[in-house]
């Protein structure tokens, strides 16, 4: 079912994560995103390709930039969009999600973009409805469109991803952004390292072919690009790190630390930033920062994903129905 390849795209019905994609498929998405960049520069920022498609943005967790980025992407492709945010309601996974999905299906939708607090929620939904499902972040599992926009930003900057040295700094253990980026970077042939407090590095990560740096200074000397993760402040309460100040002193990315970096090292961050915690303002606003290009690329990459998944529905829908049985 997951291997069903509709004509044209070859991505299947859903985008649940980058773990299930090949390097070739990832490159196809990035290549498709290129022409979509130009549409956002036009006076009339709209093409008619998804006219008549109905897309539901189903957000069980708060999100500003991902939801807005998807919404811009959908509108620029002329789709009709509905936003549902379930923030505040304590949605149980399982029954309630299925009920929500069935209700939406009954209203004849075409695609769902979902953010959910539970790992695996996107796959769960994708297997139960014939609509295309795009994972907008599920628990600690994956956030594939974030990683795709990061890959596009790196490719824009360096021209080639193969052999590029990228180190992800921060809370790797709980981060869906880190997971998606690790899968994506490895599949396109980049070298990946991680750096962070021992308590926040998954055990056995080396087996994936990922190097581990204990000191951020070493990571900076090694890297072409530093990917700085947002420090979830609740991790401190849970005892993973002693204090925010301590974290900044040991792992914070500052201009001073970057003096030892190669000249063209760039810094990425998925946002929103904790300035003065994982990243200092002089870096976030400095010449190495890719943070705003990342946001711009987010719209283009999401347009590409929507466009590629939107076609070839009948076979894929059939496959989903069989999966349900």
């Amino acid at each position: 079912m997951r291997d069903g390849t509709p004509p044209g795209a070859g991505l299947g019905k859903d985008l649940v994560g980058l773990e299930g994609l090949t390097g070739e498929q990832i490159r196809t998405i990035l290549d498709t995103a290129e022409p979509f960049k130009e549409i956002s520069e036009r006076r009339i920022k709209k093409v008619p390709v998804l006219r008549g498609k109905t897309i539901v943005n189903l957000f069980f967790e708060p999100s500003t930039r991902t939801r807005i980025s998807f919404e811009f992407a959908e509108k620029r492709l002329s789709a009709d969009t509905v936003n549902i945010s379930a923030t505040g309601s304590s949605v149980q996974k399982g029954e309630t999600l299925v009920d929500t999905a069935r209700t939406l299906e009954a209203m004849r939708i075409d695609m769902v973009v979902m953010r959910h607090g539970s790992s695996g929620a996107a796959r769960f939904l994708a297997d139960r409805i014939p609509s295309n499902v795009i994972n907008g972040g599920d628990g600690q599992h994956e956030h594939p469109t974030q990683a795709l926009l990061d890959l596009l930003t790196l490719r824009d900057r360096f021209g080639e991803l193969e052999g590029l040295k990228v180190c992800i700094v921060g809370d790797i253990l709980h981060s869906r952004v880190a997971r998606s980026n690790i899968w994506g970077l490895l599949k396109v042939g980049a070298e990946v390292a991680v750096c962070g407090p021992r308590t926040l590095i998954p055990l056995g990560i080396e087996e994936l072919g990922v190097s581990v740096f204990g000191r951020v200074e070493e990571a900076i000397e090694w890297s072409d690009a530093l990917y700085v993760l947002r420090l979830q402040l609740e991790r401190m309460k849970a005892g993973f790190i002693p204090s925010v100040r301590e974290y900044n002193r040991v792992f914070g990315v500052s201009a001073e630390r970057l003096e030892r970096a190669r000249e063209d090292l760039v810094v990425l961050h998925p946002g929103p930033m904790n300035r003065g915690v994982e990243i200092d303002s002089d870096v976030a606003d400095g010449p190495r920062s890719m943070i705003l290009p990342q946001v711009t690329n987010g719209v283009a990459v999401r347009m590409a994903v929507l466009y590629l998944l939107a076609g070839g529905k009948p076979e894929a829908a059939e496959a989903a129905k069989q999966g349900e049985a």
């Binding site: 509709p6 130009e38 008619p48 390709v49 076609g311 070839g312």
Partner: protein, 186 residues
């Protein structure tokens, strides 16, 4: 009958195509009062190189630099539901503001007219040209929409099961027009 196996019949060779493009440029020039107003826009993919060649002929004929552009109509097609996405989309590059200009659209083959319909829709999203004209190397008839060209290089009768294949140097390594068998899935 699929008896004409591997049939690739050349109907125009390089010289014939070059000569035809020169003639097309001449026809466009005859209708041009103000060269600075003119914009020659090729439809991707093969229309782009033909547009560039026509523009060169115009420049040789005494025009100043001719503004050229390209249009990728993939996102404006009307068969998305039937065909699904095409992963390779080229850039649309127009040389500046089109509002008030005279745009000559260039394509290799005019058949159903659906590509031209898509191109007209896309142009409308960029502005309001004073006038849009259509120039094609080959008109093979078979229109499904009320669209007619202003400049035609060659009219061809195409038997069932066959289609017109235009080759251009940048994409195909040579410049010619052939009749070939229509692919099964086509």
């Amino acid at each position: 009958m699929p008896g004409t196996t591997g049939g690739r019949d050349k109907v125009m060779d390089r010289e014939a195509v070059e000569e035809t493009l020169r003639e097309l440029a001449g026809l466009i020039a005859d209708r041009t009062d103000d060269p600075s107003d003119l914009m020659v826009v090729g439809i991707r993919r093969r229309g782009v190189e033909l547009a560039d060649r026509i523009a060169k002929h115009l420049e040789r004929a005494g025009f100043g630099p001719v503004a050229t552009g390209s249009l990728d109509i993939t996102l404006y097609r009307d068969d998305f539901e039937q065909v699904g996405p095409r992963p390779v989309i080229g850039p649309t590059e127009l040389p500046g503001e089109i509002t008030g200009r005279r745009v000559v659209l260039v394509d290799d083959v005019l058949f159903t007219g659906r590509t031209v319909r898509a191109a007209l829709d896309e142009l409308a999203d960029f502005g309001r040209p004073r006038r849009i004209e259509l120039c094609v190397l080959v008109d093979r008839g078979g229109r499904e929409l009320p669209i007619q060209p202003d400049y035609v290089g060659r009219r061809l009768e195409v038997p069932p099961g066959r289609q017109v294949a235009v080759s251009v140097p940048d994409l195909d390594g040579n410049l010619c027009v052939c009749l070939v068998d229509t692919p099964e899935a086509g």
